[in-house]
Symmetry: C3
Subunit: 343 residues, 3 copies
């Protein structure tokens, strides 16, 4: 474990120290859990009160705060803190296994330099894998798959034939890429499987969560754009295109032939129907169901999803609907009574 | 890749050509992406306008349309197109590995003719597997499992003990069949596991998506009826019976001891509670929550789910609830004012 | 299979027999499916009418019922029945494989007595596994993981580095424990991965369903409390703490840094947002979306979730919203008419 002074950390992230810059920091933690030698951060204002009680030696903050701990003031505290965590702790280190004799590797496969293939990995015919990748045990790579450089495939990840994986892609355990989509032609009550001749393309710097499933296209390829991050148990339908730099949280499902622009955010358990266009920088609150096209910058909530501010007001009124119904009936009676008097 | 004339394709699917029947077709694609030598199809009216711009050499259509491309007119365009895709491209071809010496196969297991067992597959005691099956790497087959003919189990599929899989069943990667259901007797605050002595039965021609989990019955078997298709990350509870020819889209969850009839459709992320009966030909819109029995032919939406037409109207009104509440309060004031005048 | 008299079973569970105590029982089943020699149970009043038609030899019931079958009367019928099923059928028996030569076990790993390591299992450096555990094929155990005694890890379960698993933990097939959470610092439109230096701790007597994913903490550990049971395809976010004896049904998602108390119940497909506190003995109905703190004993429903009784009434009124809107407009007309008369 590395140790750095607060001054060194401030230099690393381009911030300024408020307090004793010679303090030494050896580890990162949360405000609640941090102790001596720990650096923490404040990004969510909900936790601001913890500044007064934290036992952290220093805290990365966005603007000047009151705290017993030393402060490292930066523009973007969570990003600065992330840089510090990487500096102090590094990313996961992978065992350098080389190419295991217990893996099963086709003769026609090409594997780059410093790529580590663990035990019980299967690499099929004509696969091409770049440099400095790690394939953990139980990974299956189907025929003709291409994988770039610096990728990490965690245990039991499955990539079907002909899919393409870019550079610096991380796929967490038990995820599947390129399985057949839900494509059946129903004729006289029976469902006939349509061959899926499309592929799945995972662009550079994508991360895919555990248990997720990214269907291959029936004809058009399914695409996950560069820098997009998918959580656990996400399902992406066949022929759908997720633009670059999207955040797709756990258990989201996007049906087939839908297009998402760049920098979209879909909260946990969101469902998006097929054959629609979602614009750029669209934000969809958790559990919402999107049933139609959405313009750039839309912020939506609800099933069916609509403008989030309006939706939140509507769902507040929903709570008092029974009272409103009762008042309404009383009002009807009052009006009837007035009408009688009138006659 | 095979090449066929449009006349040959028309003969294959029982349609008629409108245009040059001697055109040669080598591949299938979507209207948007098709180029020379490609055949495409029009099934979703939303895409009809693409007929004017598509670069496809021919298009399969349902009734006469205007198009620059040659037309192949049939009764059921998506089904005819599926037949053409199968003719031109075929279904996935599986490597003929025979029985790998790197697989682990119990001596008491029986494996049929032309069945291929890939590396790192485990086949437990007294398993019976039919002819012409393919078991991809990492597949686990528990004791006493029976699998029919022509099945494909993709990588890392797990089948627990005593389950039965019919003929022509396809199970996508990382799916699980026959795990214990969520069965616990809570006594004095502790949850006691109930042994699951039932099984999971997967009938003929079923397909199960990646990451799905079909629990075994506690006592009654869990059954997936013949010809039903399940998407990715579907969960079916213990003792539940899905009838034949159902379409269960991705991320649907059906709790235990529920019965679905035949030809039901459950959209993505639908939840169905336990211990209920859903009739035949029931359609449940995506994200709906079904909380009670449904009669044959019901079409429902919402949580709790009710008649889809009524539900869609109700959810439209929901959007304007805050306005309605405001108008209602104004009306109350007007009535109070009238009442005062009255006195 | 063991055979017991009804008298013996009554002694085993502390109940009394109503009928012929010398009847012999060899197996357990449901009321609908039971036949001669079977014992069944009645816990859900919905099935009470089956008491008159069941072919079971005996039925475990809670208070005196009318039945042609013999009755075994106990305080807690489902728990008593569970005890009987365990007595008659036992829990799953695991093949005693010893430590397979086809497994890959690091030299620095320590494996306890009577622990069975199946083929194609990977055990990484410095792992410690207790006594009488079973690790099925395809299981991956990352470096420095600690596993207690009497655990069962079904096929293809993946445990990431440094996680801790207690005693008597059962993890169903294809589940993942300790993958990285969804932690990215977005800076100038790019998402930067934060190293996850926390762990996942699974306490004693926990069961985790197939395909579930329990993220490791970014800093604070993710904890699943003793005796809690998680269904299939559940996702638990980084740093979240689920208290002891919770029931988390299939497809539930809990975002990061949230705390659940003890004895909480989350129905299928429930979503719970991050950074909130859910009290003890809280019940959340299926498909609900919890967006804020909940006090002890709360019972909630809906998205956003609120008091379940009120929510159910509100959703009933929702169904008739279009009618209410129409009546409201008529009332407005009537009031306008009265106002005109007034002038």
């Amino acid at each position: 474990m590395k140790t750095k002074t607060l001054a060194e950390l401030a230099g690393h992230v381009g911030g300024r120290v408020c307090g004793d810059a010679s303090l030494t920091i050896s580890s990162a933690s949360t405000l609640e859990r941090a102790g001596e030698g720990n650096i923490s951060f404040l990004a969510n204002p909900k936790y601001a009160k913890l500044l007064r009680t934290t036992k952290a030696t220093a805290v990365v903050v966005g603007e000047e705060h009151e705290s017993l701990a030393a402060l490292l003031v930066v523009d973007d505290p969570y990003y600065a803190f992330t840089q510090i965590v990487v500096l102090l702790h590094g990313h996961r280190e992978h065992k350098k296994t080389g190419i295991s004799s217990k893996a099963s590797i086709a003769e026609t496969a090409v594997v780059g330099r410093d790529t580590h293939i663990h035990d019980f990995v299967t690499i099929s015919d004509s696969v091409r894998i770049g440099h400095r990748c790690v394939l953990y045990p139980g990974v299956f790579i189907g025929p003709d798959v291409e994988i770039g450089d610096d990728c990490v495939l965690h245990p039991n990840v499955v990539i079907y034939e002909r899919c393409e994986i870019g550079n610096r892609v991380i796929i967490q355990a038990n995820a599947t890429v390129g399985e057949d989509g839900f494509g059946f032609a129903t004729h006289k009550g029976e469902h006939h499987k349509i061959p899926h001749i499309g592929r799945t393309l995972i662009e550079d710097d994508v991360e895919i969560g555990s248990g997720s499933a990214i269907e291959r296209g029936a004809f058009d390829d399914t695409v996950i754009g560069a820098g997009s991050k998918l959580g656990d148990s996400v399902v992406i339908g066949h022929g759908t295109r997720v633009g670059p730099y999207c955040l797709i949280v756990a258990q989201v499902g996007i049906a087939g032939s839908t297009t998402l622009g760049h920098h979209c955010v879909a909260g946990g358990q969101v469902g998006i129907t097929g054959h629609i266009r979602v614009g750029n920088r669209v934000t969809i609150a958790g559990q919402s169901g999107v049933m139609g096209d959405l313009p750039d910058g839309a912020v939506v909530f609800g099933t069916p999803a609509f403008d989030a501010k309006k939706a939140k007001r509507a769902y507040v009124v929903l709570k008092s609907l029974p009272d409103m119904q009762k008042s309404f009936r009383e009002l009807e009676t009052r009006v009837s009574s007035l009408e009688k008097t009138e006659k």
